[in-house]
Amino acid sequence: MTRSWSAVAPLSDTTATTETDVPALPGDGLREGIVAQLRSDIGAGLVDTLVKPGVDVWARVATESWRDAGLALRESGFHYFCFLSAIDWLPSPFGRGEDDPSAPPPERRTEIVQGYTGGSTRFQVFARLTDIQRHVGITIKADVPDDEQVVDSWTSVFAGADWHERETHEMFGISFRGHPDLRNMYLPTDFEGHPLRKDFPLLARIVKPWPGIVDVEPLPGEPEEADTEGNGE
């Protein structure tokens, strides 16, 4: 590392690596192999997997195996850290805010339905890793216990997980055991609540009435009709 002003190398050493042969795009054999490797690495920690042939692979690990799974995947070639976040599977009690305030509140789904690879808790953390050699990515999930929302931190596995865990912490209220510094990333320090939880209301959609309510006065003496062409659903 040179800092001398005069030690400027000429432009000609800006060599570009030659274009390597693109390996054949991975098939599902590759993804099955990844799952098998992960199972042999963390054993019973791997709860459920889903392979969409030629598309993608999902794996769900037990909460306590979360960090081990990250380590195992890193060792098996997934050096590239893509992102880490969480999902709140609770259906939003507010809907899209498109309710008629004069009408009774609509019935909404309240039961929790998890996505791919199932789950048993309201919150799940999930992360995405990429293997640059084999051209394949994996989504890995873990349940977050409902009573104590803590999982192990990945910061010692992937340095990039630092900011992602900070963001997840402030947005979902999930703590990461072993994270050095869970300060707020985006929100002010004294912000209360966790905005990406589904039961956190989006005030912009609550303080203002929905302008989509049909407001057509009927002919005098006629009963009000339900909107016809308006509701396209």
């Binding site: 800092r3 001398s4 002003w5 005069s6």
Partner: protein, 348 residues
């Protein structure tokens, strides 16, 4: 020689007026021609076009705007130092212009050691910049002020050393003497164009112009201002009238340094004396007192063009690179130049 004899007060008044004109006129011209127009052209745009024909009155509009702005001082600033700093910077420009000769008799003062004087007063502006940087109570200003101090001192030296070559060759430290030497001199016996020192002292000229660029804190040496790092360095907290003083000082000093460079290296106000059969300073015709300043302005503009051209084209150095450049390149080069000049002076 001028025949009329003016009383002392009238002479002083004339000198003050002349000095003001000699500072403000080049500054205004440089700002309009180069900062407004040339920079715009280099960036595929037209620059100010609304105030006056081709925006030529823009500068007056800007000055008016600055004058009516509030004079803000930070609460924690050292008020008296803060207020004084722009004055000190501007003062150095006025002191500098006093030594510049514009014609055989058109000068403000004719110091015997004019070169020495000019180099000495030019470093007063460092004081002003340090004062501004320190008194602003702003970390960016402080960093800018410190950078400026380090930089201006580092480049004072190559500038002095570059001029030493000229002084050795001319054998005088008097500006008029240097002008005469260049215009009466000859290159290998041919006196068709005199002997402008840019030809024989080109190394010195090169070093001098680089040092001027650094003294003026123009890109690539503008770390004290560095708007993308230090916001505006020592000028960050200044507004209104006081900022205007800094602004005028910046471009007026550019003009004055160009004048000095043209005196030292381009033959100053003179034209080769052999063209008109003059031999000494006394034999120069009186009309040179009118034509001389015009020649000076032309040469100054050419040099200011180069300064500004470089400014608009280059990125800036880092502080340590700049210091290294001054101490490891410019100073050795100018020392070698002095050595060669001295040897050749003795040899011929």
């Amino acid at each position: 020689m001028i025949a009329v004899d003016l009383p002392y007060w009238a002479q002083s008044l004339l000198r003050v007026l002349g000095g003001t004109v000699a500072v403000l006129l080049p500054a205004g011209t440089i700002v309009y021609l180069f900062l407004f127009k040339m920079m715009s052209f280099m960036q595929s745009r037209l620059g100010p076009m609304e105030a006056g024909p081709y925006g030529s009155m823009q500068l007056f509009a800007e000055v008016g705007k600055w004058l009516q702005k509030e004079d803000i001082q930070p609460e924690n600033a050292d008020k008296s130092v803060f207020k004084m700093a722009p004055l000190v910077v501007l003062l150095s420009t006025f002191l500098l212009v006093a030594a510049v000769p514009f014609g055989p008799d058109a000068y403000f003062t004719d110091f015997e050691a004019g070169v020495f004087y000019a180099l000495a007063v030019s470093s007063i502006s460092v004081l002003g910049i340090l004062m501004a940087g320190w008194s602003s109570a702003n970390k960016y200003s402080l960093l800018g002020g410190l950078r400026a101090a380090g930089q201006l001192i580092a480049y004072e030296l190559p500038m002095v050393l570059a001029v030493v070559g000229v002084v050795i060759q001319a054998g005088t430290m008097n500006f008029q003497g240097i002008v005469l030497q260049q215009n009466t001199g000859s290159i290998f016996g041919w006196d068709g164009i005199g002997n402008p020192y840019i030809l024989t002292q080109f190394v010195g000229f090169f070093v001098f112009m680089i040092a001027v660029q650094a003294e003026l804190t123009q890109t690539p040496f503008d770390m004290p201002i560095a708007e993308s790092e230090l916001v505006s360095g020592y000028m960050t907290e200044y507004s209104g009238f006081r900022f205007l003083m800094f602004f005028i000082a910046e471009f007026a000093t550019a003009g004055v340094f160009s004048l000095i460079a043209s005196v030292l290296f381009l033959g100053g106000w003179g034209i080769p004396f052999s063209w008109f059969g003059w031999t000494t300073a006394d034999s120069v015709d009186n009309w040179m007192n009118v034509v001389g300043p015009l020649i000076m302005i032309t040469k100054m503009m050419a040099l200011a063009f180069i300064i500004m051209w470089v400014r608009f084209s280059y990125p800036r150095f880092r502080e340590d690179q700049l210091q290294r450049f001054a101490w490891k390149v410019l100073i050795p080069v100018s020392l070698v130049n002095i050595m060669f000049t001295a040897i050749l002076k003795v040899a011929f």
